[in-house]
């Protein structure tokens, strides 16, 4: 697992305690760590070097604030600088109607999928998109786009008999008129930036259709190669934006910083999953945190806000405070957490947890816990103390589990209630001890 920059800097800066001012000398070790961390996040060598130089200039001569440690202060400087760099430029799309978008990139970067996703997004924004299959090379690439277009109810154009890509592009305008489309997205074949013939082909297509947007689709996990790729595509086609794909993985996304620094092309969208809706506007601060290994707290909070009903949350907090928390409340709470997405994806957004793999059965465990509670009557959920042997047997049968599991859940639930009572009583120390003891027994139910 990646060690986060925050941790690395912590150790590099230990000898900085008590220093009043940041100087080139006392910063040297820390900056070396910054560079290594950037390289480990796949930021290009020269970009990392230039970036560290910018940080050095910014840090030099700064007074160390009393309120924070030097490490935190430097991380803040780095974070702000990253956000600034990543966020420069116009991230919204051209306002032109008909809006013409050309999608380009290497093989397997996700152009066809992103074409459908972008089409869906623009449709939501009130456009009538037409997607055009210009990948005549990869077997079944046209079929793939056609299927995706059908799924998302987008107009689709292809000419399966033509080998002339610029002509296909030109013919798409007629198709757009017929379909009354006001937005045309051209999906092109994957090509190496050094493949002269294919680069020439896409240049000709570009000249023919005169796109308002030329978007480079790049795998978020690209290595040092990202710079060569982006530069060559930018030289050939004057890119207007970048789409980073497969960002639902755990790549740090350093390639984005490289591409941004070298070409100045703004990052416009990120792909975050296999479904057509998994497509997001780009937020520089989130990517900055990710590159630095600080977790994507903002996204987590937003997700929580989207899926949690504020009133529900307040009611729940009140119940917890009063230690009046029954199994019905517990079920409701589990449902809310589930609404936020898979446990694994939620973990991925927490600082320092990005690489932590949940045990494979954790989701299943939650489902079992849910099944057990759902097999209880409302009365049983509200007053779990009435659960006798017969009731437990019935519940176990209903949930398809063993009685032992019902007993286990009840025991853990009791411990949870006790904890809440202790919180209410202010017995924090006692609670800590209790939690330690619980750790060995499988922790909070279902978690």
């Amino acid at each position: 697992m990646f060690e986060s920059l925050t941790d690395k800097l912590g150790s590099a800066l230990r000898n900085l305690r008590g220093v009043g001012r940041l100087t080139d000398e006392n910063m040297a070790d820390a900056l070396k760590e910054v560079r290594t961390a950037l390289l480990a996040a796949d930021v290009h060598f020269t970009v990392a070097r230039d970036f560290v130089e910018r940080i050095r200039i910014q840090c030099a001569g700064q007074d160390v604030l009393k309120s924070v440690t030097p490490g935190q202060q430097i991380i803040k400087i780095i974070h702000d600088e990253l956000v600034k760099l990543l966020g420069e430029g116009e991230t919204s799309l051209s306002a032109a109607r008909t809006l013409k978008i050309l999608m380009v990139g290497l093989h397997g970067s996700g152009k066809t999928t992103s074409t459908a996703k972008l089409g869906k997004l623009l449709k939501k924004r009130g456009y009538r998109p037409l997607v055009v299959a210009c990948d005549i090379y990869r077997p079944a690439a046209i079929d793939q786009l056609e299927i995706l277009a059908k799924q998302e109810e987008l107009a689709f154009y292809a000419d399966r008999n033509s080998r002339d890509v610029p002509a296909i592009g030109a013919a798409a305008f007629e198709a757009a008129r017929t379909a009354t489309a006001d937005c045309i997205i051209f999906d092109t074949a994957g090509r190496l930036q050094i493949d002269h013939d294919l680069v020439e082909e896409v240049r000709k297509l570009h000249a023919k259709v005169q796109p308002d947007e030329v978007l480079l689709v790049a795998d978020g996990a690209l290595g040092q190669e990202a710079v060569n790729v982006a530069k060559a595509f930018h030289d050939a086609l004057e890119l207007t934006g970048l789409i980073l794909t497969k960002m639902d993985g755990d790549a740090r996304g350093g390639a984005a910083l490289s591409i941004k620094s070298i070409t100045g092309v703004p990052i416009k969208f990120i792909g975050t999953g296999e479904k057509a809706a998994d497509f997001d506007t780009f937020y520089p601060d989130r990517l900055a945190s990710r590159i630095l290994g600080m977790g994507d707290v903002v996204s987590l909070v937003e997700k929580a806000q989207e899926s949690f009903d504020q009133k529900d949350a307040e009611r729940m907090a009140e119940k917890m405070r009063k230690a009046d928390f029954n199994l019905e409340d517990f079920l409701a709470q589990m449902q809310q957490v589930k609404k936020m997405g898979s446990m694994q994806s939620i973990m991925g957004m927490m600082p320092g947890m990005s690489g932590v793999q949940l045990p494979d059965d954790s989701e299943r465990q939650i489902a079992r816990t849910e099944a057990i509670i759902r097999s209880m009557t409302i009365q049983e959920r509200r007053k779990p103390e009435i659960l006798n042997g017969n009731r437990r047997k019935r519940i176990a049968d209903g949930a398809g589990v063993k009685i032992v599991e019902v007993n286990q859940l009840m025991k853990q639930f009791q411990q949870m209630q006790q904890m809440m009572k202790m919180m209410k009583g202010g017995g924090a120390k006692k609670m800590m001890r209790q939690m330690e003891a619980m750790k060995g027994k499988g922790g909070v139910p279902g978690m």
Binding site: F45, P139, A141, A255
Partner: protein, 306 residues
């Protein structure tokens, strides 16, 4: 052998070799100055070798430079290639058919790494060797993935077992094994859907494919290969680790090495997991899939001609 090396070198460096270019002729006949060691460091990093291997190569060149101030670029390149060969010793995978037939090879990897194309190319290559091969289209998820493999099968005259999009991938694998057996195939190549290594539920599907294959043959699938895009950086090490943990990988195929990427991340994977590299993809044509050779790779990366 020379022909193969040339193929390797041409594929790996359609443009001027990146390392040679970045060091401004450092590996020509010129003498190395202290400053050019920095350039060397840059060149090694930009090949995605990662911190460890870069430092190892640098240390040896610096040591040699300390002993001999007359050290020339070519000698430095030779040292680099030697270190790389030492690090990668044993990393060449050799594919041999197992008994009883068919030998099952499952292609695993993240989306867009080149599994389907590799499956087709590999089948073609084994066929050229006189083997009987069946291909199973177990990517039943991605739109038109089956059509893609069907198009390859038609073009290269391959035996294909396929169902429809949305079908149970494990069921297709089960049927394909039976078909391969009935047809007397030496190999069964199983193409699977791309999946990010961070998706637990999709990893479970792979385990299921494995379980159903084992109903036919307890030793199947004999090969579980991760297909890695050569232009991906350090994350390919994470990918390999997670897939290995969940599925017990037995080897790697590295694709798209015909760009300017050096594919140095495979060195990191080898260091971490010691998974042999069976093949490298050096272009879009069927014959562009080539057996991996440590010597050729090291020489090509450092632009050393014989």
């Amino acid at each position: 052998m020379f022909g193969l090396y040339k193929k390797f070198k041409d594929g790996l460096a359609k443009t001027v070799s990146a390392i040679a270019a970045k060091t401004h002729g450092l590996f020509g006949g010129r003498r190395i100055a202290a400053a050019s060691l920095d350039e060397l460091e840059e060149a090694l990093y930009t090949a995605d070798f990662g911190v460890e291997t870069t430092n190892e190569i640098l240390a040896e060149i610096k040591q040699a430079y300390g002993k001999d101030k007359e050290l020339r670029g070519r000698q430095a390149a030779e040292i680099g290639a030697t270190v790389l060969q030492r690090v990668l010793a044993g990393a060449e995978g050799v594919l041999t058919p197992s008994s009883p037939a068919p030998t099952v090879i499952v292609m695993i990897g993240v989306n867009g790494s080149g599994k389907t194309t590799t499956a087709a190319k590999l089948a073609w290559m084994l066929k050229q060797d006189g083997r009987r091969v069946t291909v199973a289209a177990c990517d039943t998820f991605r739109a038109a993935a089956i059509e893609q493999l069907k198009a390859w099968a038609t073009r290269l005259e391959l035996d294909l077992v396929a169902s429809h999009t949305g079908a149970d991938a494990a069921a297709v694998a089960f049927d394909a094994w039976q078909a391969a057996k009935a047809r007397g195939s030496d190999y069964l190549i199983v193409d699977t859907a791309g999946r990010l290594h961070t998706k637990g539920n999709l990893l479970e599907e792979l385990a299921k494919i494995r379980r159903v294959l084992q109903k036919h043959d307890a030793t199947a699938p004999q090969h579980r290969w991760l297909v890695v895009d050569g232009s991906i950086g350090s994350n390919s090490i994470e990918q390999a680790k997670v897939f290995h943990k969940n599925f017990g990988l037995t080897g790697l195929v590295v694709t798209k090495l015909d760009g300017t990427s050096r594919g140095g991340a495979i060195v990191g994977i080898w260091r971490e997991l010691k998974l042999p590299i069976y093949f490298v993809g050096l272009g879009e044509q069927p014959e562009d899939l080539q057996p991996f050779s440590v010597e050729n790779y090291a020489k090509a990366v450092f632009s050393l001609e014989d």
